[in-house]
Symmetry: C2
Subunit: 166 residues, 2 copies
DNA sequence: TTGTATGCAAATAATTTGCACCAAA
DNA sequence: TTTGGTGCAAATTATTTGCATACAA
């Protein structure tokens, strides 16, 4: 899930940490070391990831700042609730990406190298809203994924085909 | 997964059954009673469904024409390979829909009644191809789902709010 | 006859949950 | 001190797989 091209972040008044604090306070929830640690771990990488990949780069059981996977799963869902992350399904796994302080976008998904490439399209949004309006549908969001083969992988395939001919 | 609005079918030269026979023959696979039975069961309903829903309306163990769930799962994948069905992920489950003899389309997904409403949009396709071209991406397909609340559920919510005020 | 297909039950994989203990507020 | 949070292990859910047997070609 690495190698994804990224857009420029937006300027936001609160840091993700502050924003999450706010979220917790308004609901009478608590600030714990695990939550503080996880929010840093998640926001220091501007990339797509799933729970497993995140757990992999976190301290192991017995090490300092270890967080159990149950808590990782629980906290990821809270981050989504809080509007810090977005999640979607890809090949059966739940993939997370930054949402807070990050512009709305959709993805191209390369089925060869499995990377996600982000793109923004006003036309897509316009089409979405028009289609919904025609059906009397009240839109809350959407998910568009274009599958195919990215530029690099196409190049490599061409090269490979040439080699195969030799 | 019922209650979905449907588009008109296309005219195709081969029936799904014939088309699947062809698929099996070109690969040296076999025509079994289970496969014949399942293709009928699947194509008699023009709707979205998941493996579980299909199994539910099939004969039970011990009854005539019983098909084990392992075979149902295996066969659904074959139908997708054969181009008879399409599949996608929704709320974690794999959802299937007719593909053969059915026009390309995308979906509005009502998060209240969980129904899928189909729509066709040439603009969406144009946007997709243009975005991909800009990134040098070779498109093989896409998946667009617009989430929100459908007309009927919106009405009901309004009605419910009024009642709540009384 | 020969390998493919099926049914069954066990195995997976990714999450979720129950519960006793821990710790913010 | 009171409730929410965490870790652990067991439970879930949807699906896949191993294997012995059944059957299409």
């Amino acid at each position: 899930m690495s190698n994804s091209e990224s857009l420029e972040p937006l300027r936001v008044s609160l840091s993700p940490q502050e924003r999450f604090e706010e979220y917790l306070q308004t609901r009478g929830l608590r600030q714990t070391n695990q939550r503080k640690f996880l929010i840093e771990a998640v926001f220091e990488e501007h990339d797509h990831f799933d729970a497993d990949e995140l757990i992999d780069r976190l301290p192991r059981r017995g090490e300092e700042n270890y967080v159990s996977s149950a808590t990782v799963y629980r906290t990821l869902r809270e981050f989504v609730d809080a509007g810090l992350l977005k999640s979607f399904q890809l090949d059966g796994r739940t993939v997370y990406e930054l949402d807070y302080g990050y512009p709305q976008h959709d993805h191209l998904y390369c089925t060869v190298c499995r990377s996600l490439i982000e793109f923004q399209s006003d036309e897509l949004m316009a089409t979405r809203d028009q289609v919904a309006a025609e059906k009397g549908f009240r839109v809350s969001g959407h998910r568009m994924i274009i599958q195919g083969i990215c530029k690099d992988c196409s190049k490599m395939r061409r090269k490979k085909r040439k080699q195969d001919l030799v």
